[in-house]
């Protein structure tokens, strides 16, 4: 009996969590209609909505498809992830291992930035980016995020956990500082790197507020911004709308289903004390 109640609750909640997604996908697969139905399977299944949705932005500005938004998002996401992991891990390494004046203060300052919400710094940041002429440029989308206090902190912790003897041995073998960092230390913290890649990639893929500020021409829109175009649509074109959403959402969910473990550790990084 208790089991039954548990399952019942679980299923009700699972419906609450999943129905919005499932409904979006089935409506997208159905023939475009003006009335909406609650349906489990698509009627008249077809892919026409997806083609229409993919090309929809070109109705507003010629020559732009959702492909453009995907491309912009991919470029932004790739560079933010790679560059920030590079800077964060280098800074983390130096702060963990090298002894120099003001080391503690620098570390403190860098983690103190975590306490300031991004929205607070967005105003001065916006003014700076505008001063540089980076509005509607990839620089404006990427450069503000190539380092973060959180990343520095995570990498420093990871490096601190590695025994110093390994490094001393590498030094005796004649490796330079850069050599130690690249060939000894980085391979040893591979799990942290994987976690941080997921964390950064997810974050930069979904970021909405900042691109909203620094882009205003459609060919620089990232995917989240591009999606807002669909918001202005006449709501009776359900098929088109839901197809656009499906295109944006399904790749990430598919990726999540394949790499669940890494995703969860990436998204909960820093939350759970080990």
């Amino acid at each position: 009996m208790k089991k039954f109640i548990w399952y019942f609750t679980l299923i009700i909640l699972a419906l609450f969590m999943l129905v919005p997604m499932l409904w979006t996908i089935t409506t997208a697969l159905s023939h475009d209609t003006s009335t909406v139905k609650i349906q489990l399977l698509p009627n008249n299944p077809g892919l026409e909505n997806f083609i229409n949705a993919w090309n929809y932005p070109s109705q507003i500005e010629k020559g732009i498809t959702m492909g453009r938004f995907f491309f912009n998002s991919l470029v932004t996401c790739f560079f933010i992830t790679v560059l920030s992991i590079l800077t964060d891990s280098m800074a983390g390494y130096i702060l963990a291992r090298k002894k120099f004046r003001y080391r503690e203060s620098i570390f403190f300052l860098s983690i103190a930035t975590m306490m300031i919400p991004f929205y607070v710094t967005s105003i001065p940041m916006f003014l700076i980016v505008r001063e540089f002429g980076w509005i509607n440029k990839f620089y404006g989308l990427i450069v503000p995020f190539i380092g973060s206090g959180f990343g520095v902190y995570m990498f420093r912790q990871a490096f601190l956990a590695i025994p110093i003897q390994i490094e001393e041995a590498a030094k005796l073998d004649g490796l330079s500082d850069l050599g130690i960092y690249l060939r000894v230390m980085l391979p040893l913290i591979r799990p942290t790197i994987a976690t941080m890649i997921i964390f950064k990639a997810m974050w930069s893929w979904n970021i909405f507020y900042w691109p909203l500020l620094v882009t205003n021409s459609m060919d620089m829109y990232t995917l989240p911004l591009g999606l807002t175009l669909f918001k202005g649509l006449n709501v009776t074109r359900w098929g088109l709308l839901t197809a656009g959403l499906t295109i944006a959402v399904v790749p990430i969910i598919a990726l999540f289903l394949i790499m669940q473990r890494q995703f969860i550790s990436g998204l909960t990084a820093g939350a759970v004390k080990e």
Binding site: Y7, M17, V36, S122, N206, L227, V235, L241, I253
Partner: protein, 221 residues
């Protein structure tokens, strides 16, 4: 403020409840865990748009067409001051439950099994187990989840911007959306900076309080 309370408490409550159920030895628990976590990986923009379709104010929306079938008049979920905030809250609950649940599961797994064995020998039932062991030992987790959700809920922007635009009137506006409106729509940067400072002060005080509280609450077992 209503927004903060309206999101944080239900999310934590449901999240904890599900974590407890899904930490047991049920079949299919991995399926449910995955299902509940899917909204977390969905982009907030997409989630907001999906929900604004579902809650669409004409009788074409999913919820309204359902209500009409039940004989209830359709509600203007997003455009009435009565429901707008509620709609935004629903989206955030939907999106965050999975995250809270995963963190609680991690917390639950760090509770030693022996404690439960001991209290069972002392003749305690399920409810006592929960009240005397689970809840006190989860305190650090709860306090973490509570402060991070609290801080997060003060910074909500995307769903408000997309679903209601803060309206009607100011009925569903939040600090960050107000900051955006003043700074980047009305171009009153100075005013927006003041809002930013206010936000920072609130969050700073909350963080400090959390640090103090956490220190006092280290549990020994």
């Amino acid at each position: 403020m209503t927004y903060t309370i309206g999101t944080v408490i239900p999310t934590m409550g449901i999240g904890l409840f599900m974590a407890i159920i899904l930490n047991s030895k049920l079949k299919l628990k991995n399926f449910f865990r995955t299902a509940y976590f899917i909204p977390v990986v969905t982009s907030l923009v997409a989630a907001s748009i999906i929900w604004s379709l579902i809650l669409d104010s004409t009788d074409a929306g999913l919820v309204n067409s359902f209500l009409v079938q039940l004989g209830i008049p359709p509600q203007a979920w997003l455009s009435s001051s009565r429901w707008a905030l509620f709609s935004v809250i629903i989206v955030n609950i939907w999106k965050n439950i999975g995250y809270v649940m995963i963190i609680y599961i991690a917390g639950l797994q760090s509770i030693p099994e022996q404690l439960y064995e001991a209290i069972t020998i002392d003749g305690a039932g399920e409810w006592e187990k929960f009240y005397y062991i689970t809840l006190p030992l989860l305190k650090p987790t709860t306090s973490f989840v509570f402060t991070t959700s609290l801080i997060g809920s003060f910074q909500v922007f995307t769903p408000v911007y997309i679903m209601t635009g803060g309206g009607p009137g100011y009925s569903s506006n939040t600090i960050v959306n107000y900051l955006y409106q003043q700074g980047f729509q009305n171009f009153r940067m100075g005013y927006a900076s003041t809002i930013a400072y206010a936000l920072f002060t609130i969050l700073f005080v909350m963080t400090i309080l959390q640090k103090k509280y956490l220190k006092a609450e280290e549990v020994l077992y």
